[in-house]
Symmetry: C2
Subunit: 415 residues, 2 copies
């Protein structure tokens, strides 16, 4: 899926899409090389801002967090991260007592070669859990990577962070602010262990706008909450999830309030586009579903119902089978309802606007509607609306279907 | 799987296994016929005690409960249920505004033909959600069933309650109490929508011991809690789950304290055997895993961690792939830990006694151990032990693997 191709994440009208990735904004350099952790593919990426920058970072909520998450989480407090070194192939999670030291050595070596304080360099890993990093290969890789940094290296960087992804996930856009052009770049990886809880998967965002740290953090928090925290492929929160946004001010202009609003909107659209690319490329996925829960008692109930439906293997396999099986949706919804509110469940279910159940009872469809329904469930993107008629709480979650290919991949591949 | 063939649910030493099902105990009659709800297979069952009886019933916690659950739940308060009419093929859940009336008509017709008060007859359904029962066929079926009741009808009854089950699930046992022999019979159905929350799936238990209502309920509650509430196939709590136990005293003896203890133990073993048969025959399942969580902060945390692991599609597919992938177990465990207790996760993981991870780090195995590990994960039953080293909370859950066949079944079949 190309960025901004999803109807669920349209490009804002004021913005222009661009080719490119994290090096599309001014003042960023990146590269992606084959260090030798994987057999053949690129497996080591480096991204750095030419200037000091403000940063906002988000990490997995999983208590079995990987070493690079622990290390970068500590550093991120200052909000001054301007570079990241990433490897794919091995997650450096549960890999032995040396795991934290290995993550620090990656960071320290990159910092030394980039002539930066270690506190300005993030480290990130993705891949197999339980195996130690081959540090000699990683260190040689970092040394080779530093000399390959270029302002055109964004695509190689995006390639180097992939694991079972079937394609690179990148986006870039620009818009005209009062004082001049502002650019944003995105690179992400996904595929498995994807669930909506804090920053899920890896995603790196660059921006050349000059933004105060507090404002950048607020913008990123809101955009992550409505994008990466709203997706699920298999309900599995990874050990290594990280979203890192770096804004370096290289555009050299001053932003007004209106510009900041546009920046926030563009950031939302870009992150949602990346998050949806992760869902669309979920392991074995054939369909992206936008699930809207309305009429819940409160937003917590809406969220629980949304997750219960989005992570139900029965719902996910029905969608794979192109079956508008609202019975399984109602059954899964029943698992997520607040126990302390009584009364029977009486919800409406609609597929792309075609109501198939009203108050939990089947709706008769005429021939035209049946045809529309068949077309809706056959499409690569589907919107499902569930109204619980209990209150005013709502939630949106994006999820993928469950296919034979998911089982095949995960029964055969060590991740 | 034949009853009591699982090493996780051995037959108590004092008991003798028997051929048979719910009509093995004295004073019960049953039948199972083809009414015509399904194309060819038996789809309507009737079970009745010749004498007044005490009953204990357990229902789904799903808020989208089916009509027969709602109807039987009301009746069960008196503890005097002595008969049940069950259909398979259609769940009578979310099937329209007539669903409750249809469930009552099934019950009332069976009661009238059996010459019993309606309050002594349970009604139960299993099958497709969202379609109305063909009441004419059901009513004719009940009329035909009543005249087919026999004390040898337990097997036919067990056949009539099946949906996607690949085999009948029955067990029978007897033991010598002080005053004479006591008999227990079991029939269950399972396959999909199986998760550990209250009575999951359908299971009917008969017993000819004379037990006071309060004691029978206490015994059944404890046995259900340690069997049907401890299994998961796909984490999906069904709309129609029900476990019903009927004790009619037809053995005609008086029980002593020691007899009651044996009865309770036999009930546990029988119900666990049925629950494990449901897991072993889970849709597409090839492996039954007994997962033991130890060292949790409390039992609630142990339960959450157990469920997180047992319902993780990554863990389930790894087991299908015969991969002792403890990394995915640690990752899933990390999702279930209490958030308010700090410190990194440092758990041990063992497969059938072979420790593969200690404090979240890989354990080196010698050649013999590697071979034992390969044999352990290749077997149809596997024990996984996870010690969290955080406290004294523990939990046990039984679950099945996730296979291509599960996806195939559920992407193609309406359930």
């Amino acid at each position: 899926m190309t960025a901004f191709q999803s109807r669920f994440a349209p490009l804002p009208e004021f913005a222009t899409p661009a080719l490119g990735s994290v090096t599309f904004p001014w003042g960023f350099q990146a590269c992606g090389i084959h260090a030798g952790i994987k057999r053949r593919r690129r497996d080591l990426g480096l991204l750095v801002s030419d200037h000091p920058a403000v940063s906002a970072a988000f990490f997995t909520g999983n208590r079995a967090a990987a070493a690079p998450v622990t290390v970068t989480r500590e550093e991120s407090a200052t909000g001054a991260l301007r570079a990241v070194v990433v490897n794919s192939g091995i997650a450096n999670a549960c890999s032995g007592p040396q795991d934290i030291d290995d993550a620090r050595r990656m960071r320290d070596l990159a910092a030394a070669l980039l002539d930066l304080p270690p506190g300005e360099v993030a480290v990130s890993s993705t891949g197999v859990i339980g195996e130690p990093l081959p540090m000699e290969i990683v260190e040689q890789g970092i040394e080779r990577a530093v000399v390959k940094l270029t302002s055109e290296g964004g695509e190689d960087f995006a390639a180097a962070i992939r694991t079972t992804d079937s394609s690179d996930k990148t986006a870039a856009l620009s818009f005209d602010a009062r004082g001049g052009e502002i650019r944003l770049g995105f690179a992400a990886k996904g595929a498995g262990m994807i669930a909506p809880n804090m920053a899920t998967t890896l995603c790196f965002v660059t921006c050349d706008a000059p933004v105060p740290l507090g404002l950048w953090r607020a913008m990123m928090t809101s955009a992550v909450e409505e994008s990466f925290n709203r997706i699920t492929v298999d309900g599995q929160e990874s050990t290594n999830d990280m979203v890192l946004g770096i804004a370096n001010g290289a555009a050299g202009i001053v932003l007004g309030d209106c510009d900041l609003e546009q920046l926030s909107e563009a950031l939302h659209a870009g992150l949602l586009s990346m998050a949806l690319a992760v869902v669309a490329d979920g392991e074995g996925a054939t369909t992206t579903v936008c699930l809207c829960i309305e009429g819940a008692v409160d937003s917590a109930e809406a969220e629980r119902v949304a997750r219960a439906i989005a992570d139900s293997p029965l719902v996910k396999t029905a969608i794979y089978g192109r079956d508008a099986n609202w019975g399984r949706i109602v059954q899964a919804a029943g698992m997520g309802l607040s126990r302390n509110i009584h009364g029977p469940l009486a919800c409406d279910v609609a597929f792309d606007g075609i109501e198939v159940a009203r108050r939990c009872h089947p709706v008769h469809l005429d021939e035209t509607e049946e045809l529309q329904l068949m077309e809706a469930v056959a499409a690569p993107e589907l919107r499902i609306m569930v109204d619980l008629h209990r209150g005013r709480g709502s939630a949106v979650v994006y999820f993928s279907d469950l296919t034979n290919h998911y089982v095949h991949l995960n029964a055969g591949v060590r991740t």
